[in-house]
Symmetry: C2
Subunit: 418 residues, 2 copies
Amino acid sequence: MNVKNYMASLGSEARNASRAMAKASTEQKNSALTACVEQLVLAKEQILAANAIDLERGKSNGLDAALLDRLALTDERFDAMLEGLSQVAALADPIAEISDMKYMPSGIQVGKMRVPLGVIGIIYESRPNVTVEAASLCLKSGNATILRGGSEAINANQAIAACIATALESVGLPSAAVQVVETTDREAVGELITMPEYVDVIVPRGGKGLIERISRDASVPVIKHLDGICHVYIDDKADLDKAEAIALNAKTHRYGTCNTMETLLVAKNAAADILPRLAACYAEKGVELRGCAETVAILPQAVAATEEDWMTEYLAPVLSIKVVEGMDEAIVHINQYSSQHTDAIVTEDYTRARRFLREVDSSSVMINASTRFADGFEYGLGAEIGISTDKIHARGPVGLEGLTSQKYVVFGDGHVRR
Amino acid sequence: MNVKNYMASLGSEARNASRAMAKASTEQKNSALTACVEQLVLAKEQILAANAIDLERGKSNGLDAALLDRLALTDERFDAMLEGLSQVAALADPIAEISDMKYMPSGIQVGKMRVPLGVIGIIYESRPNVTVEAASLCLKSGNATILRGGSEAINANQAIAACIATALESVGLPSAAVQVVETTDREAVGELITMPEYVDVIVPRGGKGLIERISRDASVPVIKHLDGICHVYIDDKADLDKAEAIALNAKTHRYGTCNTMETLLVAKNAAADILPRLAACYAEKGVELRGCAETVAILPQAVAATEEDWMTEYLAPVLSIKVVEGMDEAIVHINQYSSQHTDAIVTEDYTRARRFLREVDSSSVMINASTRFADGFEYGLGAEIGISTDKIHARGPVGLEGLTSQKYVVFGDGHVRR
C-alpha cells in the first residue's frame, strides 16, 4: 500500500472512531485512561527495550546529545507518563456540557453544547512520552487522534501505541480512536495535513522549522505557536523589588521554554535604579546582556544590541534590554516585536496596568507576574497540548477545552418561525 | 499601482487602524455607528443615484432578474440599513470583557479578556446593503475591515464607503478601519485571501462556488458554510400536530435560505399516519416530493428519489423524503448527508431527544422546533455576519462574539514561578 492510501485508510478509520468517541460516556473514557496505565505498567520492559533500540539507532545515526536526551525514556519519565494519565482521568469531562440556555422571545430555548472537534492530528519529534500525553488529552476530549511521532522514536511509539489500543478495546472503545502512524516516510506528514475530509485540526509540536513548514502546507487548521519572544516592561511606577524578582525569574527560571523573557524593557526613569541591581543578579547566573545605547551607558558590561536582537528567541542565557521613554513606547515595541505569546508589565500604577492589559495584543498579558506562568497547569487547565499564538479558535495555553467546539442546541415545543 | 501593491497598502493601513479600533471606547464606536446613520441620510440621493448607475450597467451587461433584484437599493432596504446600524449600536460591546477570573494555587489570578480578531476581510456579491451590515458588525467588535463587494455594485458601495469614512473621522477613529476595495479586478480577491500578515480572517458571503474557491485558495482562516442541507426527523413518538407544523414551516417558510429543510426523515411506524397529512399541505404550497421506495408506496404522487437527492440543497419547492427504521438510522443518514448546518428531531421521547442532541454533529441541533430558527437574530445574537458549519472558532450563527477572540490575563503581586 502506498503512503497516500495508507494515510487515507488511517484517516477514514479515525473518522469512524471519532463518532464513537463523541458519544463515549465520561466513565468509559476515564476507564480507558486507567486501563492505559495498567497496560503501560505491564509492558514497561518491552517499551524500555524498544526505546533502547531507538537510542542505539539514534547514536549510530549521529543524533546530537540534546535530541538523544529528549528521546530517552527514563524511569522518572515513565512514571510521569503514568501520573499524567491519572491526572487527565481526574479532569472534568468537557464534552456535552450545555451552557447559556436561554428562552428567546419566540419561545424557543437556545444554548450551546460543547462537542469534540473530531479527528486531531498531532505531529511531534523525538519525545515518546508525548504519544501518551497527546493521546490522553484527545481521548478525554472525545476526539480520535492520529499521532505522527519522529522516526527516531518509532519503536517506543509503536510499543506505547499497542498498550493504548489494548486499553481502548478493553473498555469497548474503538482502537482506531488513537492511531500511531507506522511509516517513517516523510510523505505521511504531507498527507496528514491535507486530508480535511478526515482530519479536523493539526497540532504540531516541535521546532520552529517543523511548525512553519506544516503551517505553510496544511489545508487543515493548525493550532500552533512559532516563537516565544516574551517581554517584561518595568515601569517607572514599579515596585523595584517585585521588578527584580520577576525579571530574574522570567529570564533564568528556565532558558529553553517558550514563555521565557527574551527582551527586557525599562522605563527611562527607572533604568538607573533597577538595571545595575538586575545586572548583578544576571551576572551571577551567567546571563549575557545585549542593550540599546542607553542600557550600555548604564551597564558597560552589556554589548550593543542590534535590530536582530529584538526579533530573536534566544532560548539561552542571553537577554536583550531596551530603555524606553515610558509605557507608550513599551507597548509600541511589544506590538511590533513580540511573538504575541506572553508579555508582562511591572507597575503599581492602576491606570497604566489597565491600559497595558487592554492594548498589548498577546495571548497572555500579565501584571506583576513572571511570564513563566503562561502554562496550562499554572492556568488551572490541568494539562496542556500546546500554546497557541493564533487568534482563531484557541489562544494561549490549550487544554481540553481547546480541543473542543460548541454547537447550538434548541429546545422547542412544536415552535415554527413566523 | 498594481493590484498586489494596492491590496498590500489597504492591508497595511487596515492593520494600523485595527490597533486604534482595539482600544476605541464603547462610546466612540457607538457614536461612529450613529454618525453613519446621519451620513447615509445626508447622502441618500447620491447613493441611490450610484445604485441606479449600477443597475443600468447590470441590465446592459445582461445580469439576470434575481441578481438585479439583490442589487437594487429600494427605500425599504435603505431604511433597513439605517435600522440595522441603530440595532448594532444598541448591542452590548463584547470587547475587553473579562471572564472566569480565578485565583490559582500559586497566588496569581487568571482570567480571559475578549479581544478583536484584528482585520476581517469580507467578500460578497451584489447586495450593497451588506457593505453597511458587515462594516457595522466589524466596527462594533473592534475590528478593522476590508470589504470587497461585487463589481456590479461598485458605485453604490463606493458612495456608502464615503459615508462610513466621514462618520469614522467625525468621532476620531481612523477612516481606514473600514475600507472598500476600489478596483473590480478579480486579482484583488486572490490577494485579500493570501495576506495573513494583514488579514486575520475572511468571511465570504455568496454562492457556493465563490465560497469553495475562496476556501481552497485562502491562506487566511475562513469563516464559512457551503451548504445548508438540513433535515427534520419525525420520530414514531412524535406529536403529529407538532410534526406537521414543523415539517411544513421548515420547508415552506422560505425556500431559498440555508436553514430550510431539504430532506424529511420519517420513522417507519409514523409514516403511514403523517406522510399523507404532510403531502396534502405540501401539495397546497406546490412542493414537489421525491421519496424513497417506502415513501412512494405511501404517496404515489411522489417521484422516486435518487442518491443525488440526499446530497442536494434544492433552495426550491422540492423536498426529498426517506422512511427510516427509527432514530438510529436517522442519525446515521444525517451524519452522512447533512451539511452540518441544522438538523431537528420531532419527538416526545425524552431519551431519544437527549441522544439526538448529543449524537448529531451539526452546528445547530433542535428538538421540536423548525430549522428556520437557525439565525443570529432568533438566537439572540442581535445580528449575524454569517453561519459557520466549521468546527474551528465560530460555529452556527456568527454574531459579534464570532468576530472576537480571547486572551489570557494574569494579575500578580510580584509573583514568580517556583
